[in-house]
Amino acid sequence: MTDWLSPDEWRAVALSLRVSSVATLVSLPFGILTALALARGRFPGHGLLNGLVHLPLILPPVVTGYLLLLTFGRKGYVGQFLDQWFGIVFAFRWTGAALAAGIMGFPLMVRAIRLAIEAVDPKLEQAASTLGASRLWVFLTVTLPLILPGIVAGAILAFAKAMGEFGATITFVSNIPGQTQTLPSAIYAFLQVPGGETQAARLVLIAIAVAMAALLLSEWVSRSIARRIAGA
C-alpha cells in the first residue's frame, strides 16, 4: 500500500486520524456536560449557550477558522494566555487542527447527546435517588449508561465531521504537511492543482474508508447497547 501513497499523504492520513480522534475524545466530556446543561438546566444564559454551541454550524467554516485564529492564535488573547501559563500552543500545530475540528463537530455532538438525555425517563433517575445515589452517582450509573447510544452517535458525527473538516482548519492552522495538513486539506490542495484530481480521488476513497469503518463500529456498539437494554 505504501507505494501508492506518498509519505506526505501517509502523514496526512495519520494526522487526520489523530486529529479526529483527539478532537472527538477531548470534546466528548465537554459535549456531555453542555448537552446536560442544555437539556436539563434552567439558567439565565441558556439561550446564549445554545446559540454559542450552534455557532460553528451557522458560520461559514472560514469565519470560524478566522475567529479561532484571532482568539487562539499566537497573538490572540486566549492563545497568549494559554501559551504563557500552560505552554499550550494551538497555532499551526496539529493540536490547533484538533481544536478546529472539535469545535466544528461540537454542535453535532451536543445535539445528539442532548436528544438522548431528553429521552431518558426521569422516573428512573428518581428511583436511583431513593436508593441513595447522589445526583452525580445517578448521572454516572443511570443517565450515562442510558444515553450511551446517543453519545456514540454524537461522537461518530463529530468524528466524521472532523475527518471532513477543512475550511476552519486551513484558515486557523494553515496546511503544513506533517503538522497541520489533514486529509481534507491535502485533498483540497490536489484539487487546486492541474491534474490533481486522481490523486484527490484516491485520498477521498481513503477518507471514506476510514469514516465508514468508524461508522460501522459505532453502529455495532449502539446496537449491542440497545439489545442489552431491551433485555435480550
Binding site: K123, L124, Q126, A127, A128, S129, T130, L131, G132, A133, S134, R135, W137, V138, T141, V142, P145, L146, I225, R228, I229, A230, G231, A232
Partner: protein, 360 residues
C-alpha cells in the same frame, strides 16, 4: 421511629391537605383511586416538593417549607417500591437488586440470598428487566428497595400484581420486617385483606384529605369508614387476653363475654390482643347452639338493628364491654324477633377469625 407528616399541595384540579402520624409498624394509606396516596408517598420520599409541609422522621426534619429545609431524596435513606416498578433497564436483575447496597453506608442489611429466595427471583438474576413479566418486575422492585437497607420503607401497591400464593409468602416477611427490624413501613393498598393483616395504623384518604386515621382496629371497625372498605368487610373489634395454648394446638383467649379458641395467637399467654371479627362471619342464635363445629359462642344483647340497602340487616351487639357486628338477612332478623335489649348468642367459627385479622 415515628414519621409525622403535614402536607399541602395542589395540582390543577386536585388539592391535597393532609396531616398524620405514622408510628412504628405498618401504616397503610387507604383510599379510592386518585385520592392522593401516591402524592403523599412521593412527598415523603422527597420526589415531590409540596407547596407547604413539614415531614419529620423522629426528630430529623426531612422537609419544612417554612424553614426552607428539604433533605434531598438520596440522603433520606427511604426505600421506595414504586407503583410502576421502575427497574433500571441497563442492569441485570442482580445489579438492580444490589444497586442500593453501593450507597448504604451502614453495613449488614438483609441478606441478598434470602430476599432472592423469598421473592422467588433466583432464576432471573442474570436477566435484564426488559422482558420480565409484570409480577416478576414488581418482585425485583420490592427486593431492590428492601436491600437498600432503608430507615423507612414506602410501598405503593407492591403486591397488586402478584398471585395469592406469592402474596402469602411475602406478607409474613413484611410482618417480620415490621416486627423484627422495627422498620416502619408506609404502605399503599387497595386490598382490605392486606390492610387487615399488616396495618398497625390506617390512614383513610378521600379526595386529598384524611377521612379517618388511627390504629388499624379502630379505623377498620369505624362504621363511617365502612363504605370505603365495602360492606362485606364491615366488622368489629374484640379485646381478649391470651390465657393458654392447649394440647391440640388451639389457643384459648378470654374476653368478657366468654371464651374463644383460635388456631394461632399473635402473642404469648398473658398478653392482651385485639381480634377483628367480620360482621359476615357472625351468626346469631337465641339459644346456645350445641353439637356444632363452631367453637366460639359469646353471649350478648342486641343494641341496634340497622336495616341494610338490600334484604340484609346489620345487628350491633354488646358482648361484655365490646361491640360486635353481625350481618344477617332481614328475614332472619324478623324470625328471631331481634330488637334492642334481646339477649342473643353470637356464633363465630374459630377458623373464620383468621390470623390475618389480628392487630397486635
Amino acid at each position: 421511629m415515628t414519621l409525622s407528616v403535614t402536607l399541602g399541595h395542589s395540582f390543577g384540579g386536585f388539592t391535597l391537605d393532609v396531616a398524620f402520624e405514622a408510628p412504628p409498624g405498618v401504616t397503610v394509606l387507604f383510599g379510592r383511586s386518585g385520592c392522593g396516596k401516591t402524592t403523599v408517598v412521593n412527598a415523603v420520599a422527597g420526589l415531590l416538593r409540596p407547596q407547604r409541609g413539614r415531614i419529620m422522621l423522629d426528630d430529623q426534619r426531612l422537609l419544612d417549607t417554612n424553614a426552607r429545609v428539604a433533605v434531598p431524596p438520596h440522603r433520606r435513606r427511604i426505600g421506595y417500591v414504586f407503583q410502576d416498578a421502575r427497574l433500571f433497564p441497563h442492569m441485570t436483575v442482580r445489579q438492580n437488586l444490589s444497586y442500593g447496597r453501593w450507597f448504604a453506608r451502614r453495613g449488614n442489611g438483609p441478606d441478598i440470598g434470602h430476599i432472592v429466595d423469598l421473592l422467588g427471583i433466583g432464576p432471573l438474576l442474570t436477566r435484564r428487566p426488559g422482558l420480565l413479566s409484570g409480577g416478576e418486575r414488581q418482585r425485583v422492585a420490592i427486593g431492590r428497595a428492601i436491600l437498600s437497607n432503608p430507615r423507612l420503607l414506602l410501598m405503593d401497591e407492591p403486591l397488586a400484581a402478584l398471585d395469592e400464593g406469592r402474596k402469602a409468602e411475602i406478607l409474613p416477611y413484611l410482618e417480620r420486617l415490621r416486627d423484627g427490624l422495627g422498620l416502619p413501613i408506609l404502605y399503599v393498598s387497595h386490598s382490605v385483606a392486606e390492610v387487615a393483616r399488616l396495618a398497625t395504623t390506617v390512614i383513610l384518604l378521600d379526595g386529598g384529605r384524611v377521612r379517618a386515621a388511627g390504629p388499624a382496629a379502630c379505623v377498620l371497625s369505624d362504621p363511617q369508614a365502612a363504605p370505603l372498605f365495602g360492606l362485606r368487610e364491615a366488622g368489629a373489634i374484640l379485646t381478649a387476653r391470651v390465657t393458654a395454648r392447649e394440647a391440640d394446638g388451639l389457643v384459648r383467649l378470654d374476653c368478657q363475654a366468654g371464651t374463644l379458641w383460635l388456631p394461632d395467637a399473635p402473642a404469648a399467654p398473658g398478653n392482651s390482643v385485639r381480634l377483628r371479627v367480620l360482621a359476615q362471619d357472625v351468626m346469631l342464635a337465641l339459644t346456645r347452639p350445641e353439637e356444632i363445629s363452631a367453637l366460639n359462642v359469646l353471649a350478648g344483647t342486641v343494641q341496634e338493628v340497622i336495616p341494610g340497602a338490600g334484604h340484609d340487616a346489620l345487628v350491633r351487639l354488646r358482648v361484655g364491654d365490646d361491640a360486635l357486628l353481625a350481618r344477617i338477612t332481614a328475614r332472619s332478623a324478623g324470625a328471631l324477633a331481634l330488637a334492642p335489649g334481646r339477649p342473643v348468642f353470637a356464633v363465630l367459627k374459630s377458623v373464620a377469625v383468621a390470623p390475618e385479622s389480628m392487630g397486635a
